[in-house]
C-alpha cells in the first residue's frame, strides 16, 4: 500500500503550496487517476509518491513495497555509459534479470547497435524510448505515471499501452497523475482531484476534472505529448 498522511509540500521554487495536509491511500493493485490542472504540481506530487522528495511535513508511506518508479524517467541513466550498460546495471540494481530486460527493450524499441553507444550520443527520442522500455521491463508492484504513459511514434505507444494493460492485468497498481480526463478515464478505476492542496475523491474522471479545474475533455494531442517528453530528455 502507498499512503500519504497529512502531507504538506511546496513547489520546487518554494513559493507555491502544492499539498496542504493532503491524505490518500492507494491499495495494492488499485488503479487511481489523480486529475490536476497544469502548473499545480503534478511532477512534484509524482516525485513525492516516488520517494524522490521528502514532504515538508506529514509522511508518504510505502507499506510492503518499494517506492514506485515514475514511468519513462531517465534520471537514473548515466549519459557516458552505453544504453546496454545502463540497462544491465539498472536491471541488476532493481533485482531483475539484465538479460530479460535487454531482450524486452530490444523487442519493444527495435534498437540494436544504438544500444552500444553512450547515451549522450543518441537522440533524445531514443533515450525516451529506452526509459519507457526499462520502466515496463522492471517487475514492480506499482506503476506511477506523471502525465504520460508512453512516448514516440504510434507503434511504440501501442507497445507501451499493451505492456501497461498486461501489467495491470497481472495485478500491478497504477497511480496516474494527469490533467487529461480522457487518459484518466481510460486507465483509472478510482479518481482523485488535486484541488486547493487536497486530494479529493471523485466518482468519475469527469467529476475529478471538474473539481481539479482541468480543461474539459480535449482531444488528446500526441504530438504535444511527444514534444513535452523529448524536452524532458534533451
Amino acid at each position: 500500500m502507498i499512503a500519504l498522511d497529512r502531507v504538506c509540500h511546496f513547489h520546487a521554487d518554494g513559493r507555491a503550496l502544492i499539498l496542504n495536509r493532503a491524505s490518500a491511500a492507494f491499495a495494492p493493485g488499485s488503479r487511481t487517476a489523480i486529475l490536476a490542472a497544469a502548473g499545480t504540481g503534478k511532477s512534484t506530487l509524482a516525485r513525492l509518491i516516488a520517494g524522490q522528495d521528502r514532504p515538508r511535513t506529514g509522511r508518504v508511506r510505502h507499506i510492503g513495497c518499494l517506492p514506485p518508479q515514475i514511468l519513462g524517467s531517465a534520471t537514473a541513466f548515466y549519459p557516458w555509459l552505453t544504453g546496454e550498460a545502463n540497462l544491465r546495471l539498472l536491471a541488476a540494481i532493481a533485482g531483475a534479470s539484465p538479460e530479460s530486460v535487454l531482450a524486452l527493450t530490444r523487442d519493444m524499441t527495435g534498437l540494436g547497435c544504438e544500444l552500444a553507444v553512450p547515451l549522450a550520443s543518441v537522440p533524445a527520442g531514443v533515450r525516451a524510448r529506452l526509459a519507457f522500455a526499462l520502466s515496463y521491463a522492471l517487475p514492480a508492484p506499482w506503476l506511477l505515471a506523471d502525465e504520460v504513459t508512453a512516448t514516440g511514434g504510434r507503434e511504440f505507444r501501442s507497445a507501451c499501452d499493451d505492456l501497461l494493460a498486461a501489467r495491470l492485468a497481472r495485478g500491478a497498481g497504477l497511480i496516474l497523475i494527469t490533467s487529461n480526463s480522457e487518459t484518466a478515464a481510460r486507465w483509472g478505476e478510482n479518481f482523485l482531484a488535486l484541488a486547493g492542496g487536497r486530494l479529493i475523491p471523485a466518482a468519475s474522471a469527469a467529476e475529478a476534472s471538474g473539481l481539479a479545474g482541468t480543461a474539459r475533455n480535449l482531444p488528446r494531442n500526441e504530438d504535444e505529448d511527444e514534444s513535452r517528453t523529448l524536452e524532458a530528455y534533451a
Binding site: 518499494l66 518508479q69 541513466f77 548515466y78
Partner: protein, 261 residues
C-alpha cells in the same frame, strides 16, 4: 525476511560501487586506473621535488619514505572527499530508483573510497620497495589505523561537502577552495616536532595533522612527543557527519519556502 533485506541492501551497495567504477572515468581510455595513477603521480612528483631540493626533513629516514608517509593520508583524505562529492553529483539521478536513498549512494561511495585507499597504499608501498629499497612499517596496526582515520575524515567531510553542495551552489564552490590550505598545514612537508610551540598549538586543531603524525610514528617508530591526540580527528569526523545529517534532511525537503496558500 530481515536477513533477505540486508542481503538485498548489500547487493545494491555493491552494484552502486560497480556503477561508480564504470562511470567515474568513463570518458577516458585508461579508465578507473586513473584513480590510482593520479595520486601516485602526485606523490612521485613531490618525492622528485624534495630530491631535487636535497632537503632531508627527518634524519635517518629516506626522503621518499618521509614524503610518501605524509602524502598518503592527505591523498586518501582528498580523494575520498572528491570521490564523494563528484560521485553524488553523478549518482543523484539514482535516488528513488528501486528505493535507493541518498544515504545509500553516499555509503557506497565512501566504501569504494576505502577500497581505493587500501589499494593505493599497497601500490605506494610496493613502488617504494622497488625504487627506494627496503620499506618496513614499525607498527602495522598503527599504519592501518592512520589509513582508516584519513579515510574516515575524508568520508565525514566528503559527506558534509556533498550535502552542502546539494543545498547551496556557494558551498559547492567555496569548499574545495577552503580545503586547499590543508595541503600546507597537514604535516606533508614537516614533522610536528620541528614546529615552534606556538605554531604547533595553533595547528593542533587540524585533525589531519594528527593522522599524518600517527602515520609517521607507525611507519618509522619515532616518538611523537605526545602530540598525537586521536580525539581530534574522531571529533571532527563526528561533527561533519552530524552536519551532513542535518543538511540531508534539508536537501530532501527542499529549500525554506514562503507559504502562498
Amino acid at each position: 525476511m530481515m536477513l533477505h533485506g540486508a542481503f538485498r541492501w548489500l547487493a545494491v551497495i555493491r552494484l552502486l560501487m560497480i556503477r561508480e567504477t564504470r562511470i567515474r572515468y568513463a570518458r577516458g581510455r585508461v579508465g578507473y586506473a586513473w584513480a590510482f595513477l593520479l595520486p601516485l603521480a602526485w606523490i612521485g612528483g613531490l618525492i622528485a621535488f624534495f630530491g631535487w631540493l636535497g632537503h632531508r626533513p627527518m634524519a635517518g629516514v629516506p626522503v621518499a619514505w618521509f614524503v610518501a608517509s605524509g602524502m598518503l593520508p592527505y591523498v586518501i583524505f582528498r580523494q575520498t572527499i572528491s570521490g564523494m562529492t563528484r560521485g553524488l553529483s553523478a549518482g543523484r539521478g539514482l535516488i528513488g530508483f528501486s528505493g535507493i536513498r541518498l544515504a545509500d549512494v553516499l555509503f557506497a561511495l565512501a566504501l569504494l573510497e576505502l577500497l581505493n585507499a587500501i589499494v593505493l597504499s599497497a601500490l605506494a608501498l610496493c613502488l617504494l620497495a622497488v625504487f627506494v629499497g627496503q620499506v618496513t612499517l614499525a607498527d602495522t596496526a598503527g599504519s592501518a589505523l592512520a589509513l582508516v582515520l584519513a579515510w574516515g575524515l575524508g568520508a565525514g567531510f566528503g559527506r558534509f561537502a556533498a550535502m552542502a553542495a546539494l543545498v547551496s551552489d556557494f558551498a559547492a564552490r567555496i569548499l574545495p577552495i577552503a580545503l586547499r590550505p590543508m595541503f600546507w598545514i597537514s604535516g606533508i612537508f614537516f614533522a610536528a616536532a620541528d614546529l615552534p610551540g606556538s605554531l604547533l598549538a595553533l595547528l593542533s586543531w587540524n585533525p589531519l595533522l594528527h593522522v599524518t603524525e600517527l602515520a609517521r610514528r607507525a611507519a618509522f617508530g619515532r616518538d611523537d612527543h605526545g602530540f598525537i591526540d586521536l580525539t581530534v580527528p574522531v571529533l571532527a569526523m563526528a561533527i561533519c557527519l552530524a552536519g551532513a545529517h542535518a543538511l540531508e534532511h534539508r536537501a530532501e525537503t527542499g529549500r525554506p519556502a514562503r507559504i502562498v496558500p
